[in-house]
């Protein structure tokens, strides 16, 4: 499927649109919470909301490669924006937890991170996202060369830790958890199967030639 050719200017406008659309739910929901329109427990609601959207942007980021492999959609040019949105939402999720939920009581936060496995997992995932966000620019890609790809494979343990963190944060697993975690597991499993799938594809092409 040949994608329509877009001018570089239109391409970059589309990428900026992804950032704008991606950040809109966080800004809108923050406004709802600040103006008392987010229900009885706005802090928890906002915290959960940001966490869920972190998972969603991780899913979208990880979906780019399989969708391209399958020839369904070439979204490579949006991958950086989606990955960074996952990082922004994870950072806002942590900030909401630290500032609004734990009211910046450092001892309580440290105790949580050290003692509660699900918070430990979440914290590790956020920490691993930092080097990925810092090196998500063209200069870093040039400078790091092939090491850049290796470094950015960290997104796989981040996704796994995110799924674990999410599943342990709730009292019972429901449809929402099964769907999101199921998608993450599927996308991670695809990475394991991918080398063989690609090899089969190459052989088929060679045979045809």
């Amino acid at each position: 499927m040949a994608p329509a050719k877009l001018s570089p200017r239109a391409q970059s406008a589309l990428v900026w649109a992804v950032y704008a659309v991606g950040l809109a739910p966080a800004l809108w929901t923050f406004w709802l919470g600040a103006s008392n329109q987010l229900g009885a427990d706005p802090v928890k609601t906002f915290e959960r909301f940001l966490g869920l959207w972190t998972i969603r942007f991780l899913i979208l980021t990880l979906a780019i490669t399989p969708l391209r492999d399958l020839g369904l959609f070439n979204g490579l040019r949006y991958r950086r924006a989606l990955g960074l949105l996952a990082f922004y939402y994870a950072a806002l999720h942590f900030l909401t937890y630290a500032v609004l939920d734990q009211t910046m009581v450092l001892s309580a936060i440290v105790a949580d991170v050290v003692k509660r496995p699900f918070i430990t997992f979440g914290m590790i995932a956020l920490t691993l996202l930092v080097p990925l966000a810092v090196t998500s620019n063209n200069a870093s890609i040039r400078r790091l060369g092939s090491r850049w790809s290796s470094l950015h494979r960290l997104v796989y343990p981040v996704a796994a830790l995110g799924a674990l963190h999410y599943s342990m944060a709730v009292k019972v697993l429901g449809a929402e958890q099964y769907i999101h975690i199921g998608l993450l597991v599927l996308l991670l499993a695809y990475r394991i199967a991918r080398p063989r799938l690609m090899e089969a594809k190459r052989q088929k092409r060679r045979a045809a030639a």
Partner: protein, 314 residues
């Protein structure tokens, strides 16, 4: 510590804001000759209540929050689900079957119960195991009054409770994702059940219980985590064995039979040292406060557990 305070205006006499806000509409309806009987049954009936010494001197959680932020998985697992999905539930007519190790087992009609015992207004803290809390003006009568009426036998040591099962009216009890086994069951030791603080609530804020809060009759045990307060009770059985409780069946390492509020015993996955007090809404109306042993009712109930290891019996 309970301290008696004469209420200025009983909450039963305060017109709920949502009705007050619709006063013109309601007057219009009446003027238009539309009979009140045609009005939606969502208008809870006002209760005649008597004051009680159990009145907490803390700011009440707004009724709006108490009735829209609920854990009642029979109507769905989201906090907003019970308010959204309980509209078709019919709490009347209702009966509660009381039996087991009692001299006079009996099935009570709810209206008879409400006539038999004075409905007290009690302002209690409510601490959820998820580390949030509210202050709620309940209306109800002590469970002890009902238990005394059926005359427990000497062999009775525990009280078992059972919730209603109505998949046709409770969407959480149908479909592919059933979070809990039904019916929801709970239990208390007989001395806990007979404690004057233990309440059978039939209302809140001076009106009959909204469906999402456990209509028409629910348990309130203020020194225990909220999930012990079983809702929409149909059956109470006195027994000599420790009865099963739903969350304990589901995750015994996380939810014990006693489930007394205890800041020193954490949930395996989160801290119980502090709680978010649900406030007036908005990010800046919420506050975090220290959780108190037995939810602040230690003076009343700690003696029930004298000599017991509260860490082992969580």
């Amino acid at each position: 510590m309970p301290s008696f305070k004469v209420p200025k205006i009983p909450s039963s006499e305060i017109t709920p804001q949502r009705i007050y806000a619709r006063r013109r509409e309601i007057l219009g309806l009446m003027a238009g000759g539309a009979a009140l009987a045609a009005a939606p049954s969502a208008f809870a009936a006002a209760l005649k209540t008597v004051p009680s010494p159990y009145r907490l001197d803390e700011e009440l959680t707004p009724r709006e929050s108490v009735t829209t932020y609920n854990n009642f998985y029979e109507f769905g697992t989201d906090k907003g689900d019970p308010a959204a999905n309980s509209g078709t539930f019919k709490p009347m007519p209702w009966t509660v079957e009381v039996g087991g190790m009692v001299a006079k087992p009996k099935t009570f009609g709810l209206e008879d119960l409400m006539k038999a015992y004075p409905i007290e207004e009690r302002i209690y803290r409510m601490r959820c195991v998820e580390a949030w809390s509210m202050v709620i003006p309940w209306n109800g009568f002590p469970l002890a009054s009902l238990l005394k009426a059926v005359e427990p036998l000497g062999s009775a040591k525990y009280v078992a409770f059972e919730s209603v099962v109505r998949p046709e009216e409770m969407p959480g009890q149908t479909g592919g994702f059933q979070p809990l086994p039904w019916p929801y069951v709970e239990g208390l030791r007989l001395d806990e059940a007979m404690h004057p603080l233990t309440l059978l609530a039939v209302g809140l804020y001076g009106e009959t219980l909204p469906n999402q809060n456990g209509a028409p009759i629910r348990l309130v045990v203020p020194w225990k985590y909220g999930f012990k307060g079983i809702k929409s009770i149909v059956k109470i059985t006195l027994t000599d064995k420790q009865p099963p409780s739903t969350w304990n069946i589901l995750a015994p390492q996380e939810y014990g039979f006693y489930s007394n509020v205890n800041p020193a015993v954490d949930h395996p996955r989160w801290s119980q040292a502090t709680e978010r007090r649900i406030g007036t809404g908005g990010f800046f109306g919420t506050s975090r406060v220290d959780t108190l042993p037995f939810n602040g009712y230690a003076d009343d109930v700690a003696s029930l557990y004298a000599g017991m290891d509260l860490k082992a019996n969580f």
